[in-house]
Amino acid sequence: MSFYIIFGTVALSCLVVKGLFLCFIPAKRLPSFFEKTLRYIPGSALSALIAPAIIYTKAGGDFTVSFSRTLAGGLAFIVAMRSQNIFITIFSGLAMLWAFSWIMTS
C-alpha cells in the first residue's frame, strides 16, 4: 500500500510542477532568483546522482570504492561528451565495466 502512496505523491506533485504556471499559478514571468536556481538544477542534481552510483558499490549496506566502476564510469563520461549519444554511452560503459571487472578478478 505504501508503494501507491509514495508514487502517487510523486506523480501528483510532479504534475503540479509540470503545469505550475499553465494551470495552477497565474504568472507572466519567473521571479529572478527562481530563474537563476533553475539554471543549475539539472547539472547539480544529475551529477549528484551519478557520482556516488559510479564510484561506490553498496555491499551489505557499506559503501566501498570500486576501482573498475570508477574507471569505466570516468571513461564513459568522455564517451558521452564526445558521442552525445545515449546508446553508445550505455553500451561502451557496460562493455568497459565488464572488461575491467574481468581483468581485475582474473
Binding site: 506523480a11 510542477v17 539539472p42 547539480s44 557520482a51 559503501f63 554511452t89 550505455i90 565495466l97
Partner: protein, 236 residues
C-alpha cells in the same frame, strides 16, 4: 484533411528523430522497475501516472535503496522543476485553451515536445494550430515511452538481473547531463554537486546526503555567477 489533423501529424513527424534517445531510455526504465522488484501493476501505475523520465528513474533508484518517502518526492520534484519554466514559456501557445486541455498538456509535456513546439512558435507565432502540433509531438513521445517501458519490463523478466544494471542508470544520467554543462557557472554547479555527493552520501543517513549535495551544487553555481558578474562589473 483538416488543418488540425495535418498539424498533429506534422508535430509527430518533427519529433520522430528524438525517439532514438527516448526509446532506449524507456527500455532501461522498464528494466529498472522490474529489477527493483516492482510488480506489473506497480510499474503500470507509476509509468502511466506520470511522464517525467529522469525524475522517475531517480525515484526508482532511490526506492530500491530504501530511501524515505519525503526524500524520494523532494528529489523527483527538484529534478522536475525545469518543467515549471516550460509551463510559463509555453503559455502563449496554450493560454486560450480550456482548463482540462491545459491540464492534459501539462501531463503529457516533455522536454522534446516543449522544445519543438517553441521552435515552431519562433518561426511562426501567428499559427493558431500550434496546440495540435504540440499534441501530435507529445502523444508520439508518450506512446513510444510507454511501449519502451513495456518492452524493458518484459525483457527484465527474461534477462537475469546482473549487478551491471545499477551501472546503466548513471550512464543514462550522464548522457542527459552533457547538454547542461554549457558555461563555466554550470560546470561549477555540476562538479560541486557531484563531489559533495561523493562525500555526503556515505556520511548522512537516508540519502539526505544526495539532497544536501544537490543544494550545495546549486548554491555554488549561483555564488560563482555572482562573483563573475561582480568581476565583470569592476572591469567595465
Amino acid at each position: 484533411m483538416r488543418v488540425t489533423t495535418k498539424e498533429f501529424i506534422r508535430g509527430g513527424r518533427a519529433i520522430a528523430p528524438t525517439l532514438i534517445g527516448v526509446i532506449p531510455f524507456a527500455v532501461v526504465f522498464g528494466f529498472a522497475m522490474k529489477n527493483a522488484l516492482f510488480t506489473g501493476l506497480q510499474s503500470s501505475f507509476f509509468s502511466l501516472s506520470l511522464l517525467a523520465g529522469a525524475s522517475q528513474l531517480a525515484a526508482v533508484q532511490l526506492y530500491a535503496s530504501e530511501t524515505p518517502a519525503f526524500i524520494i518526492v523532494l528529489t523527483a520534484v527538484i529534478i522536475n522543476l525545469r518543467y515549471s519554466m516550460y509551463s510559463l514559456s509555453i503559455q502563449p501557445v496554450l493560454r486560450d485553451k480550456p482548463y482540462m486541455l491545459r491540464l492534459f498538456a501539462s501531463f503529457i509535456i516533455t522536454d522534446q515536445s516543449y522544445a519543438f513546439t517553441m521552435a515552431e512558435y519562433e518561426k511562426n507565432p501567428g499559427n493558431h494550430f500550434l496546440p495540435s502540433f504540440f499534441m501530435g509531438a507529445s502523444i508520439l513521445i508518450v506512446i513510444s515511452w510507454e511501449a519502451g517501458i513495456l518492452l524493458g519490463y518484459n525483457l527484465g523478466a527474461v534477462i537475469p538481473a546482473t549487478h551491471f544494471l545499477d551501472f546503466v542508470i548513471p550512464l543514462i544520467f550522464m548522457s542527459l547531463l552533457i547538454p547542461h554543462l554549457g558555461g563555466r557557472d554550470r560546470q561549477v554547479a555540476s562538479i560541486t554537486g557531484g563531489l559533495s555527493s561523493v562525500i555526503l552520501v556515505p556520511l548522512l543517513p537516508l540519502q539526505l546526503g544526495l539532497l544536501a549535495a544537490i543544494i550545495i551544487g546549486i548554491g555554488s553555481g549561483i555564488a560563482f555567477s555572482m562573483i563573475q558578474e561582480q568581476r565583470e562589473g569592476i572591469k567595465a
